[in-house]
Symmetry: C2
Subunit: 564 residues, 2 copies
Amino acid sequence: MKSFKPRFAQQLNSNQPLRIIPLGGVGDVTKNMYIYEYGEDIIIVDCGVGFPDDAMPGVDLVIPDINYLRDKINKIRGIIITHGHEDHIGSLPYLWPQIQAPIYTQRLTAGFIKAKFTEHNLAKDKIIEVKIDQTINLGNFQVSFYQVSHSVPDSMGIVIRTPQGLIIHQADFKIDWTPVSGQVTDVGRVAQLGNEKVLLLLIDCLRVEKPGFNKSEKSIESSFEQAAIETPGKLLITTTSSNVSRMQQAINVAHRLGRKVAVVGRSFENNFQVARDLGYLQVPPGIMIAPDTIQGFEPRKVLVLIAGAQGQSDSSLARAANDGHRQVKLKKGDSVVFSADPIPSTESAQNALVDSLSRLGLNVYYSAVNSELHVSGHAALEELRLMVNLIKPKFMFPIGGTFRHMKAFSKMAQELGYKDTQILDAEDGDVLEIMNENIKLAGKIDVQNIYVDGLGIGDIGHVVLRDRHKMSEEGVVVVVVSVDKHTSQIVSEVDIISRGFVFEEMAKDLLDEARDVVKEALQKHPQKISDWRFIRRIIEDALDKFLYKSTQRRPLILSVVVES
Amino acid sequence: MKSFKPRFAQQLNSNQPLRIIPLGGVGDVTKNMYIYEYGEDIIIVDCGVGFPDDAMPGVDLVIPDINYLRDKINKIRGIIITHGHEDHIGSLPYLWPQIQAPIYTQRLTAGFIKAKFTEHNLAKDKIIEVKIDQTINLGNFQVSFYQVSHSVPDSMGIVIRTPQGLIIHQADFKIDWTPVSGQVTDVGRVAQLGNEKVLLLLIDCLRVEKPGFNKSEKSIESSFEQAAIETPGKLLITTTSSNVSRMQQAINVAHRLGRKVAVVGRSFENNFQVARDLGYLQVPPGIMIAPDTIQGFEPRKVLVLIAGAQGQSDSSLARAANDGHRQVKLKKGDSVVFSADPIPSTESAQNALVDSLSRLGLNVYYSAVNSELHVSGHAALEELRLMVNLIKPKFMFPIGGTFRHMKAFSKMAQELGYKDTQILDAEDGDVLEIMNENIKLAGKIDVQNIYVDGLGIGDIGHVVLRDRHKMSEEGVVVVVVSVDKHTSQIVSEVDIISRGFVFEEMAKDLLDEARDVVKEALQKHPQKISDWRFIRRIIEDALDKFLYKSTQRRPLILSVVVES
């Protein structure tokens, strides 16, 4: 506190506004990243990835757009990470190289980030482990922390003291009095903060629709045990790859029932290793086996922790379900436990995977038939009400949910006596300005989705995705016209090939006619045959019209004019 | 019964097997179509469509594969339709022209089918309305019916007396003692049948995971009323387009509260019209308004029944949410009620639509925040148990669910005392043979998905879909090489264009390099330049390798060699 007070006092007089800009995490659950800016100081909270939806075919990951920060890099005092989930840390390998500011977070989260940085060949010396009772001064910001329960250990709430007032950034949390990790949400500390006049609370709203309190994480273990007892073959358990508590519970069950444990799936293995190395997992000696030795054990003696809880098509579990996994061969008698709820946009994928596994004759345990397999990591309605009543902020900003959740949160808050003007209703890119204990929307910066696809970061945009989408719906038709450069006459046959449009063997007539349509169109405009762009437009227009009339499909048409 | 008995007795001696072949509806919820074959007689139960999933981009509908029937058309004695839902009647316009057999069903269903046939310019004289207490002799089959409750009126169970025993085909149903339509499941008649020794029960298993009994359809109306009272603007209600009971309840509410009613969406309008014309809807005079007059009324005086309950992207509601609907303009103060659960594979689409509407500032009523907005049309666990206990069949075949539902049904049946061998576990195309009160799997016929895309039926197959999928993930790269037909030398620059691969402006270098890669590859094989296929393979292999190395993407590569 020593070094902080004077500066705080000094800046208060300057009376500049505090700006808060969500770059991601509002209205879309994932890709969390928030900027706090005061004068010459910026701090960032979280730096997560988003996951592609149906409108982003082929995209691997979505990362926040930090264009706003480009000319402000030297103002960035630090990046605070609330907890170790991908949607809060996943963009660091892509964005940290441009930011290079110190990263502050608790031990396990730091471990996860270090593992990522090692993989991406990045320096790890700016990843700084904080203790939960530590206070950090970052320019005009004073930052401290408190422990919360969530589905990964070392999750925390962030207390940000600014010249414009006290802000609490409460990302993902729940209130669980008996968490497996032992880390209970520190309601005493939260209540203390509540008595200090909190100006603004940013708060996880994802599960506001869920009435009541969540069950405790502890309740899961007996369901795992039941499944292990009922399963004559291998028991597969899938959960989020960072859910250390579930890993521990699976190990406990395996240990009691004499099963060996294999961990399958890259992110799962990495996280397991980090958690074990740092002492967050208690692993009895001799219980772990390598994935490629699974086949050597009696099925009833094996428990596999496997990645793929969301039904991702390239996950280990999905590959095993399609008999495409070298190490995990599924047989009748094996069971699969889904210990995760789908996140928005993955419901259908998870259902499809449950179904493929059922079709193989496996016994599948999933939430629709057993509500004791998973508890959410996010506060349900009564937990949110408790938190709001403890903190009693002047303003609230529901984050980490979709718009329907924000709306439902606002409704809940109004039932608690808040006015709707006290509940902020902003989007990614909105610039919130805080001054004299008031908050206003002061503008909007342009934030795009930045797509990671293979090795490319940001090299595909909405035009590329629009084309992909069109081709996925209707296919592509390529027309090649070869023109004599001296006479400007067509010198060979018009070539037409298609993919994803019609089955060509069945549509020879159609494609023959299409050739004639192109030739006719060109003959109508002989004078212009030297203007390639014009020719291409003529070809594409004529063909589009003809194909739509014949098939009611509109493939992407690509025309190539070759001069020879 | 008179004309039936002798023939039945006669055939019994011949002791031929009865074959049952599901062409669709097993393991995939929709696309219901079942064949019953005995000697020279075939009857068909249902003829529905399926809906495309993520693996079928651009496909409009999926219809059953009736290749097995091609050379047996003259054996088909009739098509029985259980009820008027798309997944039970939707394929008739596509398949009936090849079958031409009489269609037997109750009045409202017949009305829906007639409307479809009118639209497709098909003759309607073979659509035959049956009474619920009627018995029909169809060759060796004697068919009768009983009333069931479901989410559309005139749903029925089918009683099929065959030379090999009594079969009950119980497609979609529930047990609702106070249905809005007044049509209660006729448990008395069902119990009577149960006393006659039923050999096989085919039964709707979709909701077996749901414990307890469904609430009554009647319970919905007060939720609609509550929403109408709370809504200062237009009230939009979306439900399945054939849900006549919901339409009636919406009209009742509108009538009581002084709102006019508009019906928006083609299938919704068609079904509304049919139901009204046939007297299944009670519409107070003067309450209906045309969609293009909505804007002329005070919003609080309007209720809109609108299509799009599953979140379909081209539905009226989705278009309205994107400000793309000419007649329905959404404003703050309007509300939308989702009175339908998502069907498997549409969960994500429905959630996305709820979210878009919330983002517009509308009040959205959906099942996660209000469980009184929808009741399922499908029997929940206790209803299934009741039905099984009334019918007491020797064998059961769970239909109309995915594999996980079939599995859960089997588990439920075993709790009732059935052996697992009494619960059939078949797939579409499996040939079940019944003889001497036993059922065996006697083979498998090949059933493909037949895709309807625009005007084409069956002209796209898995190769086309695979290409579409590849292009949607990675785009397409087209290479054009022009070769002198006399010298076999490349006569102009190699052309490379791409779509959906990279943003070309940003990837000029990459595409330039790609050109060089193609040229080098060709120079390595000058002797073979007359063999086009070989050239194309060389080009495609070299380019694939280069592009994957540079980008870790594998676009579809199309090479064209032009001779000039």
